[in-house]
Amino acid sequence: MITVNNLMQQYGDRRALDQVSTDFPAGQTTVILGPSGSGKSTLLRALNLLSRPDAGTLTLGTQTIDFSQPIDQATILAVRQHFGMVFQEKALFTHLNVLKNLTQGPIKVKGQSKAQANQTATALLAQFDMSALATRYPYQLSGGQQQRVAILRALAMQPDYLLLDEPTSALDPELEAQVLRILRDLAQQKKSLIIVTHNMAFARAVADKIIFMEHGRIDYDGSAAGFFNAKDPRIQRFLHAMTF
């Protein structure tokens, strides 16, 4: 379980996070929804310390990070071991082929042998029917394939949580479906997923929990069923805007 408490982040005169407190249960899929600029990505990136809120705390198991204090390099690296991340932009390492993209982290960060990392990566590629892509470079892949490989790269690190920051927003519908299929499989396997998305149908299908944000604040934090049946006019407005 991950818990955040009273996260505050200010960008100029805009409050990106405003007293954000919530938790992310293990083994569940948490979907973060909200209009653009509502603080969804900022919250996601705060979890693996890619962005640092000005104040508030992050608790992972027994370890608590206080954002109002300086955070040393060892702590940052230790926190990041818990997370894998998939970005909105295409973020595969362009100078490495697919197999090497998958093995770079385990070899360099986890100290695995090349043989061991190759074995894990090859098994992952096979599991998701992507063995044929192993020797291709990122520019030789479609957008959907790139994002699926990015998901496997994150999984190769065997993280406790997988963070996904609008992983399909740059893809056309057909490619989006390829990526969503793999995420649905992971959700069914009870992996711990935290996903920022604008795809309501997908959120409805996979979310165990929904966090709805607006203006840096959490306006809804609860079950997916509760969210999609909520009477709150702000949620109704959002759902209406996203549906039509």
Partner: protein, 232 residues
Amino acid sequence: MTDFFHLAAQYLPQLFQAALTYTLPLTLISFSLALVFAVLTAMIRLAKRPDTRIGRVLLGGLKGIAFFYVWLFRATPMIVQLFIVFYGLPNAHINFFANAWVSAITVFSLNTGAYASESVRAAILSVPHVQVEAAESLGMRPRQVYANVILPQAARISIPPLSNALIGLLKDTALASVITIVEMFYLSQQIAAENYKILTMYLLAAFVYAVLTTALSLAQHQLERYTSRFAQ
């Protein structure tokens, strides 16, 4: 014309030998060192502000030195730098530079490094930030991010400007003649002074430079083809 070919057959082997003995070693040794200076300087100038006070003071000092170094070597002509190092410093009892090779390599590498550092800095800046974040999110340390992600990608981007610098340096090694190194151009001057075939000898020297720079351009082309395997 027959005379030209006769002189070419007679002197080209000597000029090529001088190029292989002096021009190429001067170029390759100086360029290797220049690359080290360039990468270090670019990394220092792009380094992020450390969290600790002592780190900030140390980095501030290094950034100041890097900025001054680049400014100094771009602000003055290379021939003046050669004169200062080879004739000036030994005059101030810094005898390490009394050796012409040491002086030449020092000036060539520092001068080329200063210019190349800007090419390397531009190449590093052109690596998309999401590549850095992807590496950081895998848990890589800053030096691992540099070694495994930023520098390999920046290297490909910097091949054309660095190749320019290498070709420029090869031609600039002719300046070593002013500090007594009998490199290829100096040799052509000496032969011209003996046989009075001034135009022919300088044309032959130009031909040798053209052959060498063409070889480097072809090598650049091959290197670009090789590295384009991982990018469109």
